[in-house]
């Protein structure tokens, strides 16, 4: 039983992260008016949701390795700078593995950790580009026109993914994925 669970996780996790990358990058191309409109910019964080969830619920899945490699794939596919998302994905996965023993394994905690992770990633990337001079957006503008809409979208995304995620986790051998 243990072996088959590992084998499932070994190909399912990278596959889901890869699909996450493709969907994240395709959404703004498909709905440009909604995602990168004039007043707000919404960043979809499906990949990050998978990273947070898998590192929170599952053990021994090489999630650190996968999050770094898939972060590099993400940047190579759509960005121009290599290494920013890879590092921050790796750090998020590492911190969640470190702190998860202090929390009950509930979906609600998972969503909260996801919200923290989204804010952390966006803020880290913003500071990176701001300090290097690639953008001159001020912090208040960033908070209002980027972080706010992004958080709202990603919370909705997490709730929509609750049932599919429950299926996936129970297929991987984890039963108690419940909201409360």
């Amino acid at each position: 039983m243990k072996i088959s669970r590992d084998r499932k996780a070994r190909w399912l996790i990278p596959l889901l992260l890869f699909i996450g990358i493709i969907v994240d990058a395709a959404l703004p191309a498909i709905f440009p008016g909604a995602f990168i409109g004039s007043s707000q910019i919404i960043i979809s964080h499906l990949t990050l949701f998978f990273i947070v969830t898998f590192s929170f619920y599952l053990r021994d899945t090489h999630i650190l390795f996968y999050s770094f490699i898939l972060g590099l794939v993400y940047e190579s596919y759509i960005g121009t700078v290599l290494g920013v998302y890879a590092t921050i994905y790796l750090l998020v996965a590492y911190f969640i593995i470190k702190i998860k023993k202090h929390f009950p394994k509930k979906a609600f905690i998972n969503f909260m950790l996801f919200v923290v992770a989204v804010s952390l990633v966006d803020f880290f990337v913003y500071v990176f580009y701001f300090e290097l001079g690639f953008t001159n957006v001020y912090l208040t503008t960033f908070l209002v026109s980027r972080l706010g809409p992004t958080l709202i979208f990603n919370v909705v995304l997490a709730f929509l993914l609750y049932l599919p995620m429950k299926q996936i986790l129970s297929w991987l051998g984890f039963e108690e994925y419940i909201i409360f």
């Binding site: 703004p28 910019i41 990337v125």
Partner: protein, 283 residues
């Protein structure tokens, strides 16, 4: 928490990451690994973007059909003028060609061939505004080619794989790729050359600098690429002048340009293919 071995590991890892970031910042990375990764991802990305683009195309064509009658009436009125103009243009082209021969000017950047492409994906965080399009080196796309959308210039190809390529928009703050040499078509006919060097996100205008202070530039004048950079072909529309004023030092004029290209709703783009000669680097 950290013992010595771990500390050294963390140090080496962070040095490796910092060098990777700085290397990819200053060199455009295009090697075998990134090419194969991008190629695979863009094939997967097509699965998502292609159906939506098909629907958009269908809706647009229905939309066109609805408007056909009115457009037809309008176009019938215009067609006489067009014929007249075509005859004049043909005449001018022949004349221009002869003068070129007389001056021994063989290289020209005003000859190009458009190639239409579909957007597969866009960078979700809009710090570096990049797009991936569905044509690549197999279709003749090379680095540094100009890309148009709507009516105007929007960006430049920065990475090419066999079947897809990456475009950086002019609205990005990156200094090297965002610079285009341009010319204002003033009413008096005098040329006013300059450089479109940055983008003002607040007013949504391009900012053109280094323009002759004596040139009389009025709002509404058209701005086109001048071809003086040696990379971007000439006579591509950039936009029209919104306002012009002297810069802070009083040496040159600064012109705000209202972009003619579509900046948000980019689904279909046109890559401007030029002859093999423009292997000249930007600097």
């Amino acid at each position: 928490m950290f013992n010595n071995k771990k500390l050294i590991g963390v140090l080496i890892a962070s040095i490796a990451i910092v060098s990777l970031v700085s290397y990819s910042l200053f060199n455009s990375t295009s090697n075998l690994v990134t090419t194969s990764v991008n190629e695979t991802s863009s094939w997967a990305g097509r699965i998502f973007s292609e159906p939506v683009n098909m629907v958009v195309r269908f809706v647009n064509s229905v939309d066109n059909l609805v408007n056909t009658f009115e457009e037809n009436q309008y176009l019938k009125q215009r067609i006489d003028q067009v014929n007249e103009m075509q005859v004049r243009i043909a005449d001018l082209e022949v004349e221009n060609e002869k003068m070129r021969q007389e001056l021994n000017l063989t290289e020209t950047l005003s000859e190009f061939e458009p190639l239409s492409a579909t957007v597969i994906s866009r960078s979700p965080d809009q710090w570096m505004e990049t797009l991936v399009i569905n044509v690549g080196s197999n279709d003749g796309v090379r680095k540094n080619l100009a890309v148009m959308s709507g009516n105007g210039l929007i960006g430049r190809v920065i990475e090419v794989t066999p079947n897809s390529s990456k475009v950086l928009l002019l609205t990005s703050e990156q200094s090297n790729e965002g610079v285009v040499s341009a010319r204002v078509q003033t009413e008096s006919g005098a040329s006013a050359n300059g450089i479109v060097s940055s983008y003002d996100a607040k007013t949504k205008n391009y900012i053109m600098t280094q323009v002759d202070p004596d040139a009389e530039i009025k709002a509404g004048d058209m701005v086109i690429t001048s071809g003086l950079g040696g990379v971007t072909p000439s006579t591509l529309l950039i936009g029209e002048v919104a306002s012009a004023q002297m810069d802070d030092y009083g040496l040159f004029q600064t012109v705000n340009i209202l972009p003619a290209g579509e900046m948000t709703d980019i689904r279909f783009v046109t890559v401007i293919l030029v002859g093999e000669r423009s292997e000249v680097s930007e600097d």
